[in-house]
């Protein structure tokens, strides 16, 4: 069984970058990481500078493997895996009405994605597996699939898969990490999300990863001097110091309210290089080691 790291957080907090950084650092430690991108996001390829990332794991450089789940292929994967008789599996996947049903039915794609994550985790060929989940609401739903299907899937392959997924989510080697920014709204939403996750108790919770932590390169004397001036440069510096101070205060309050480990990642220059991502990833020891 591979270690599974799930990354969630609101859009724009840098889930893709953080997952990539963790994967690059894991590979540098001699591991064979696989990034699974969910929900036709098409962002990971931009980080690694490859044209596309398809449904099958591919090498994207730096010893990292990545795949982007294609919902239709994931459904085929599910049927092939759970209907042991090949002839019958083929009849199901090639049946046109069932094809339309799979495309239109709610939750089919989510279950298919779950099956992809579960099967790579069980095969153990790639380790760790880093799942770049979609926006928070979607991630919450994904994690609660076993409960959602409680009254519907009472026996059979789907029930068995959901039961194994429940076990996987609680395994010692699995963790859900929340990524956030050191700003008022994202932190507020992180606290709310964390409360829900703790209440639902579906998954082992990992770190709070605060991305883009700002730091101003001014000495204490210079900082004091800023507040005695009101020219454009000083106003910009004040703005930067205020942002830095707000970030500090918010991170402290996060640490106070959530007892798990908090990882702070410094703000990187625009379009970080893979080397810069490696440095970033190395600080996420809990995820990488």
């Amino acid at each position: 069984m591979s270690a599974v790291h799930l990354f969630t957080g609101k859009g724009g907090v840098g889930k893709t970058t953080v997952a990539a950084a963790a994967a690059i650092a894991a590979a540098a430690n001699g591991k064979r990481p696989l990034i699974i991108e969910v929900g036709h996001r098409a962002q990971m390829n931009a980080v690694f500078g490859v044209t596309t990332i398809a449904h099958k794991p591919q090498s994207v450089g730096r010893g990292v493997f990545a795949m982007c789940v294609d919902p239709d292929e994931a459904v085929t994967d599910y049927v092939v895996r759970h209907v042991k008789l090949r002839g019958i599996a083929k009849r199901i996947t090639q049946n046109r009405v069932l094809g339309r049903f799979f495309k239109a039915a709610p939750a089919v794609q989510e279950v298919a994605v779950l099956n992809v994550v579960q099967s790579y985790a069980e095969k153990g060929k790639y380790d760790p597996i880093l799942v770049d989940l979609d926006a928070t609401g979607h991630a919450m739903m994904f994690l609660s699939l076993p409960q959602v299907f409680e009254g519907i899937a009472r026996e059979g392959p789907l029930r068995a898969l959901l039961d194994r997924f429940t076990v996987l989510l609680r395994a010692k080697t699995t963790a859900l990490h929340i990524i956030t920014l050191p700003q008022e709204l994202p932190v507020e939403e992180t606290l709310e999300l964390n409360e829900k996750l703790v209440a639902d108790d579906n998954v082992r919770l990992g770190s709070i990863i605060v991305n883009n932590v700002p730091s101003v390169t001014l000495t204490p004397r210079q900082r004091a001097a800023v507040f005695r001036r009101d020219d454009g440069d000083a106003l910009l510096a004040k703005r930067a110091l205020t942002i830095e101070h707000t970030a500090r205060t918010l991170i402290d309050s996060l640490k106070k309210k959530i007892a798990r480990s908090t990882i702070e990642l410094p703000r990187l220059p625009n379009d970080p290089t893979l080397d810069e991502l490696l440095e970033l990833g190395r600080t996420m020891t809990e995820v990488v080691s």
């Binding site: 724009g12 699939l145 299907f149 059979g156 392959p157 910009l236 625009n270």
Partner: protein, 360 residues
């Protein structure tokens, strides 16, 4: 507005429906609300249909509490807003389209309960049903009508989720699929048995019960879907792409733009939110650092240089973006703000700080 935006105003005045699309985390909801507030302040009776607004924006719009009813914004009576809550909206929808007794039967169905929670891109579907309801032509009640509806869409990196949303439930209740599942003998009954091999027979039983409960409503779902799809393609409907100038976000926005084009839908305007850090006291990007001064001046200059560099990079990215993803009414920038919007005046003011991309 500080720049000439008459072309923008003319365009806005001609719209009856604006659909705001964009990747997550770009401030799409705030931008949609600002656009609505701006239109309302120009005298258009406007409704903003929003999804999951941040608490502060919700209270700025007077949308406190969990109700998803339409509320008039007290500080700007031409503006109304409603927040969509998936679960209650689904239940409301069922109650709206069928008898109380039938609705109760549906609401108690375990498959319905699960599906209304998980229906992939549920928010988009519910938003579209709600859109159909507020724009419907035949009215039996005296519910208000609007000059403009601004529809905020859920964060998605696929425009197809939104464009396909109206027909989602109709496709699921497709005549042939329903017939198959309800057949008790013949080849389709055998195929349903096959599905049992993949999912488990209890699951298939529940799906059949679900179809039994909803089969009669199939035509209604289909006709509403068709009307909504037609509405999205009307001349007076505009798609606005909201994005932020970060590289990964722009990559997602590019995909959205391509998907819209592939369905022959033009993007009417592009909004870049938090596009740049403004020079203090202005709505334009910070100036380049200047030479000279003492040691402190030099230290402060490094702060300015950093911000200037970030702005320059962002502006370069945005200009590159519009050469590959066009819009009929230009690209507009909303500068970075130091605080979140707290009231309607600030929301109206947002559109006052808009800058055309050509001006930077």
């Amino acid at each position: 507005m500080t720049h000439d935006t008459s072309s923008f105003d003319t365009w806005l005045d001609g719209q009856q429906l604006i659909v705001a699309v964009g990747p997550g985390g770009v401030g799409k909801t705030t931008s949609a609300a600002a656009l609505g507030a701006y239109a309302a302040s120009r005298g258009k009776k406007t409704l903003v249909l929003t999804i999951d607004p941040a608490r502060r924006l919700a209270s700025a719009l007077g949308l406190d509490g969990l109700s998803d009813a339409v509320k008039v914004v007290p500080a700007l009576p031409a503006l109304s807003a409603a927040m969509l809550d998936t679960k209650s909206s689904y239940d409301d929808l069922m109650r709206r389209i069928t008898t109380a007794e039938h609705a109760d039967r549906i609401l108690e169905n375990p498959a319905y309960r699960a599906f209304s929670k998980t229906m992939s891109q549920s928010h988009a579907y519910v938003a579209m049903e709600r859109l159909h309801y507020v724009t419907r032509k035949e009215r039996e009640d005296d519910a208000p009508t609007y000059d403009l509806v601004v529809l905020d869409t859920p964060p998605t990196s696929s425009a197809l989720d939104i464009l396909d949303a109206p027909g989602r439930l109709a496709r699921f209740l497709d005549e042939r699929i329903v017939e198959w599942f309800l057949a008790t003998e013949g080849p389709s009954a055998r195929a349903v048995k096959l599905l049992g091999r993949a999912l488990g027979s209890s699951t298939v039983e529940e799906i059949v019960k679900f179809f039994q409960a909803l089969a009669d409503l199939r035509e209604g779902f289909a006709s509403r879907a068709q009307e909504t799809i037609a509405l999205l393609r009307e001349e007076t409907t505009a798609f606005v792409l909201v994005t932020a100038p970060r590289t990964t976000t722009l990559a997602a926005a590019k995909t959205l733009h391509e998907e819209l084009s592939s369905r022959e839908i033009n993007v009417d305007a592009i909004f870049f939110n938090r596009a740049f850090v403004p020079e203090p006291g202005t709505f334009l990007p910070v100036h380049a650092p200047e030479e000279g001064g003492d040691e402190l001046a030099a230290a402060l200059r490094t702060v300015r240089a950093e911000v200037y560099g970030q702005n320059a990079h962002a502006i370069g990215e945005m200009k590159k973006f519009v050469t590959r993803a066009s819009s009929q009414n230009g690209a507009w920038l909303l500068p970075e703000r130091d605080a979140d919007v707290r009231d309607v005046d600030e929301l109206k003011g947002l559109m006052g700080s808009v800058v055309p991309l050509t001006a930077v």
